[in-house]
């Protein structure tokens, strides 16, 4: 280490030499923090998104590296949010990449006391069978002599974080199956 480097490594020197007299800025940065880089700087790509919590609709920039979300920031371009996010929006990374997520299908058989594993394909097939059976059992061509052409055999309740496209397919499919008890958080 040369003398010059040694002197410049001394924060007090930097405070005077670089005009940061009160030592509140770059002058007090240590070598370790100087070498830190933000996850946003090393991301492979930034994807435009929208916060999934309340209905303000804040813009989000999703930073991705090696196929994983590494950071979620407010989008300064959004005319609604102007780059801001609230505590929930700021915690979005933990929502999408956190420890609380379950990523396997779980199955509880009737009277079962524990969860069991099931593969997704089998689960989908079983659910399709359940829908077909319950739909038939609950079928009503008419009620009190008036045509209803419907089933009371199954119901659905969706959250209001569903995309419009998802709601559209849910309503379309279940209506075609004759279900009418199709509801949403919007009622609640």
């Amino acid at each position: 280490m040369g003398v010059r480097q040694w002197i410049e490594g001394w924060p007090v020197y930097r405070q005077f030499a670089h005009g940061d007299l009160l030592g509140r800025g770059a002058a007090v940065k240590s070598g370790a923090s100087d070498r830190l880089t933000a996850r946003t700087a090393t991301a492979d790509k930034v994807v435009k998104s929208v916060c999934p919590y309340c209905a303000v609709g804040c813009g989000q920039n999703v930073y991705v590296r090696d196929g994983a979300v590494v950071q979620v920031e407010g989008d300064p371009d959004s005319p609604v949010s102007r780059g801001r996010l609230c505590p929930k929006g700021s915690a979005t990374k933990q929502l999408v990449a956190g420890s609380g997520r379950v990523t396997q299908v779980l199955y509880r058989r009737p009277h079962g006391t524990e969860w069991e594993r099931l593969d997704l394909d089998t689960a989908m097939d079983m659910i399709a069978d359940r829908v077909i059976d319950s739909r038939r059992r609950g079928w009503q061509w008419d009620v009190d002599g008036v045509r209803t052409r419907r089933t009371m055999g199954f119901a659905s309740l969706g959250g209001a974080t569903l995309d419009n496209e998802e709601n559209y397919l849910i309503k379309k499919l279940f209506t075609a199956l004759g279900a009418i008890q199709i509801e949403n958080q919007a009622r609640i």
Binding site: D77, G98, T113, G158, A160, L162, L169, G178, I180, Q181
Partner: protein, 892 residues
């Protein structure tokens, strides 16, 4: 949104968040915006920085109150009296915007001679059928013509408009009998506003008893505080100034909730604040796409674009349905083109002119089939399967226990979520397994938990609180078995269709004929969300994307999945994905995302200009008539026929949009006017009237009628849904306090998206109840200690937070102490606690079928709640002490 819909024509916020910066006065009521919509709140602060007065009306002093110029504490459940008092002040002091009121509202319209007001009938309106507990709305009509509703309970007029058409009993609620007729001719008007049956005079008489004294007695608001609100609002409304109202579920979640919003609608129309910059009513929705979930509904009573689901009739076909649901004038006159285009989107090639475009494939309603009725059908065993997609009713719905009992009686349950929420695990570790009411080994429900994909793992659009669609792009692939609901629904449908492919049974035709060929992509065969959006937008006979709902046809040559979203894919471009930076646009920012309808950001904005099409003032200019170009122009897209002159007057035989004149800004309404008085579309009255909450420590001082006479309560009589005595009834003193539920900024709704996030759990680690020092002293509660809160439904425990923020009020000469309860907790996740919704009863608003959780009479006591069966015994003990039977609280 039956209230905004019936008042103005569309069930959506009339304005957008950024426009709040142009307000001169903002009243936030039924909302803690700074806490629950903090980023949107920046626009309130922008207005304040420019000199606007900010008023917060709320039982609690909150983060919003802290930043307001004036906090007005009131008793939870008394807002109609407060707002009605302001209306009375505006009318009696002649502070209304006369030109606006006269020409843009139905103030001048004369009502039938048969109409009787709450003034005449001691608190109820004419047409009340006490047997059925329903109103016949006929006497609420205009003289000489019958209006049809653009929104709300449109089914009630079916019989009139189809000349017959018997419906199955329950769905006949509020339905027509006897008179009625087609909506033809013009309403009779009195331009002097002096005719005793004109809406303006009826309004004056109706609200005359909503005096400052009543506001003080019922809401607990001192007169000088009330006067300050009246002065701020009226001084900041008129040609040159505008005021805005902001509300959320603090208004909707009551047994008379729709009428809260109606009261604000009347007030804003009288003050001339609708359709103008800095004005309007901003409904703040609490979920990313609540607005979208009603626009493209997963709701029992609606098809996409607010087309009603058909009810069961003896003669239902496309013609009679369209005849019943169309209006004569305005845009609902085109109902047939919206519906036929939807049926084409649903059933494609199979939908033809000859088969009524498969109209018969639509299942029919026989009354209310809301989520709460569904729970009863589950308990009864009729509904045996249940899909929960991103919803946690075991915590999030009123009377959460009833929800769990419904689930416990299912054959199968599918839960799709990010984490193991309580609705997926009640069978092993729910409150009833602790009390012994559910034994895991005895319970036969088969449960599938399917992990869901997060918003970063899929493409799609949310519709935010200001009707704006914004596209979120997929960033990464979903992990493991996690899939989008788009994937789940598409592949479930595909499998069911495969399994039924050989069926010749007629009941399988609708599912087999369904247009269900969506392109998929990637290793997991994810359906292309862009293609679904394109179907929602619609296309013509050549498959070319449509650009406007004006292009929709009745002959089946156009398909469109949601007519109000038509244009979101104009030119084959995903308009919801537009992201021109806000800094490069004016404040309207019309090139960011896309808002329905037709990318208009302030609804009814024709009303921002005077009769001649000139802005009411330069300061409040938004859109105006450019006579040279022969077009409306301005900062926003005009919510009006672009080339309809303000001087246009229709012929008497004109129909549809052409039948509205150049001074009819409310283009969805059959008369083009804002409805101060709602002649059709609401089930509980043409005007708001104050009724006490279902469970209230007070009697109704305004009328002999205690509660909303047509609230939905008798169908929910159940041993686990007992109601409480109110007012002077014996036993009501057992529940002397009023609790209100609310949200914290660090948590989200029933906790499914927040209780599993370590950051958020660290910020708000535990369920608590907020009480005043007076209440703490009265009941011996210790700060940070435990309290047990009890209603006729449940006993829950919470940590005690003693603050001065819960202002004690003097109501009817008595000191009222209130309790605040955040409702985010349940037994699962990194932060656990009891669910506040255990306390609430299922008692619903008759228009929206929404539960009352914002005003609950209850008791509070020190210490933790009992464990095991003793918890149930404590509740039974309270019921006994209050003399509660199955009839208590069910009186009309």
């Amino acid at each position: 949104m039956p209230s905004l819909g019936t008042s103005f024509g569309r069930g959506g916020a009339t304005t957008f968040q950024q426009d709040l910066q142009n307000s001169d006065c903002i009243v936030i009521e039924g909302s803690n915006m700074a806490e629950c919509h903090p980023v949107g709140f920046q626009w309130v602060m922008e207005a304040k920085a420019k000199g606007a007065t900010v008023i917060h009306v709320d039982p609690r002093f909150t983060r919003t109150s802290a930043l307001a110029d004036l906090h007005v504490p009131l008793r939870a459940g008394s807002d109609i009296v407060f707002l009605g008092g302001i209306i009375n002040h505006v009318l009696s002091e002649e502070k209304y915007f006369r030109d606006y009121v006269l020409h843009y509202t139905n103030a001048a319209t004369i009502l039938t001679e048969e109409y009787r007001d709450t003034e005449d009938l001691d608190g109820v309106f004419s047409g009340l059928d006490t047997e059925e507990r329903a109103y016949d709305f006929h006497t609420w009509q205009y003289d000489g013509t019958e209006m049809r509703a653009a929104s709300g309970e449109r089914d009630q007029q079916y019989a009139d408009q189809t000349r017959g058409g018997e419906t199955v009993r329950q769905s006949a609620r509020g339905e027509a009998h006897g008179s009625g007729g087609a909506e033809v001719g013009n309403p009779v008007r009195d331009e002097t506003l002096t005719h005793e049956r004109c809406v303006f005079q009826v309004l004056k008489r109706h609200f005359a008893r909503y005096t400052a004294e009543m506001v003080e007695q019922i809401c607990g608001i001192p007169r000088d505080t009330f006067a300050r609100v009246c002065d701020a609002l009226t001084a900041n409304s008129g040609r040159d100034r505008t005021s805005a109202f902001v509300y959320s579920v603090g208004w909707t979640q009551h047994t008379v909730g729709a009428q809260y919003i109606r009261t604000a609608s009347i007030l804003q129309a009288l003050l001339g604040n609708i359709g103008r910059p800095g004005g309007g009513i901003l409904a703040l929705r609490g979920h990313a796409s609540i607005q979208g979930s009603t626009d493209i509904p997963t709701l029992f009573n609606l098809l996409p674009g607010y087309i009603p689901m058909p009810h069961a009739r003896s003669n239902t076909d496309l013609d009679s349905f369209v005849a019943a649901e169309s209006t004569h004038k305005g845009y609902w006159a085109n109902t047939r083109s919206y519906l036929v285009s939807l049926l084409k989107a649903y059933w494609g090639e199979a939908a033809t002119e000859e088969n009524d475009f498969c109209f018969d494939y639509l299942p029919r309603l026989t009354g209310s089939h809301s989520t709460y009725e569904t729970v009863l059908t589950q308990i009864a065993g009729d509904c045996e399967g249940y899909f929960l997609m991103g919803e946690n009713p075991a915590v999030g719905s009123a009377n959460a226990k009833l929800q769990r009992l419904g689930m416990a009686n299912l054959k199968w349950l599918v839960v799709r979520d990010l984490s193991l929420i309580e609705s997926a695990t009640w069978w092993r570790d729910g409150p009833e397994t602790e009390t012994g009411e559910i034994r895991t080994e005895d319970n036969a429900t088969e449960v599938f938990f399917l992990p869901a994909a997060a918003h970063t793992e899929k493409d799609g659009s949310f519709t935010n609180t200001q009707r704006m669609l914004q596209w979120h792009h997929q960033a990464v692939e979903p992990p493991g078995d996690a899939r989008s609901d788009l994937w789940f629904t598409f592949h479930l449908g595909r499998r069911i269709r495969q399994k039924l492919a050989d069926s010749t049974n007629d009941l399988d035709r609708p599912i087999l004929d369904l247009a269900w060929a969506y392109p998929t992509k990637g290793e997991i065969d994810e359906p292309d969300a862009d293609a679904v959006l394109a179907e929602i937008n619609g296309w013509d006979a050549n498959g070319i994307p449509l650009s406007s709902y004006e292009q929709l046809k009745t002959d089946g040559s156009t398909a469109c999945g949601c007519w109000i979203y038509c244009g979101v894919y104009a030119g084959g471009v995903n308009q919801a994905a537009r992201r021109k930076p806000g800094g490069e646009q004016n404040w309207v920012a019309g090139e960011w995302g896309w808002a329905w309808p037709a990318n208009r950001r302030i609804l009814y904005n024709r009303a921002s200009a005077d009769l001649d099409g000139k802005p009411w003032s330069e300061r409040k200019a938004l859109v105006w008539w450019d006579a040279e170009q022969g077009r409306w122009t301005g900062h926003d897209v005009a919510d009006f026929v672009a080339d309809k002159s303000p001087h246009y007057r229709p012929d008497d035989d004109a129909r549809g949009p052409r039948a509205l004149s150049g001074i009819d800004p409310f283009i969805m309404q059959g008369d083009g006017k804002a409805w101060l008085f709602v002649p059709a579309g609401l089930t509980d009255g043409p005007l708001p009237a104050h009724y006490e909450p279902q469970d209230s420590p007070f009697r109704n001082l305004l009328y002999r009628q205690q509660r909303n006479p047509v609230r939905e309560v008798t169908q929910f009589v159940h041993p686990d849904n007992r109601l409480q005595p109110s007012g002077d009834e014996p036993g009501s003193k057992v529940f002397p306090y009023v609790a209100t539920t609310y949200r914290l900024t660090e948590h989200h709704t029933a906790g499914g998206m927040s209780r599993w996030l370590p950051y958020l759990v660290e910020l708000q680690p535990e369920f608590f109840c907020e009480v005043s020092p007076e209440l703490a002293a009265e009941r011996g509660l210790k700060h940070i200690g435990w309290a047990t809160i009890v209603s006729a439904r449940a006993a829950i425990e919470a940590r005690v937070l003693v603050t001065e923020r819960m202002t004690p009020l003097i109501v009817q000469g008595r000191r009222l102490l209130q309790i605040g309860l955040p409702y985010h907790w349940g037994p699962n996740g990194y932060s656990v606690g009891d669910a506040a919704n255990e306390l609430a009863s299922v008692s619903l608003d008759p228009n929206s079928h929404i539960q009352e959780v914002k005003a609950l009479a209850c008791d509070i006591r020190p210490g933790r709640r009992p464990r095991g069966p003793d918890r149930v015994a404590l509740v039974r003990d309270y019921q006994r002490r209050a003399g509660i039977t199955e009839r208590t609280g069910t009186e009309m």
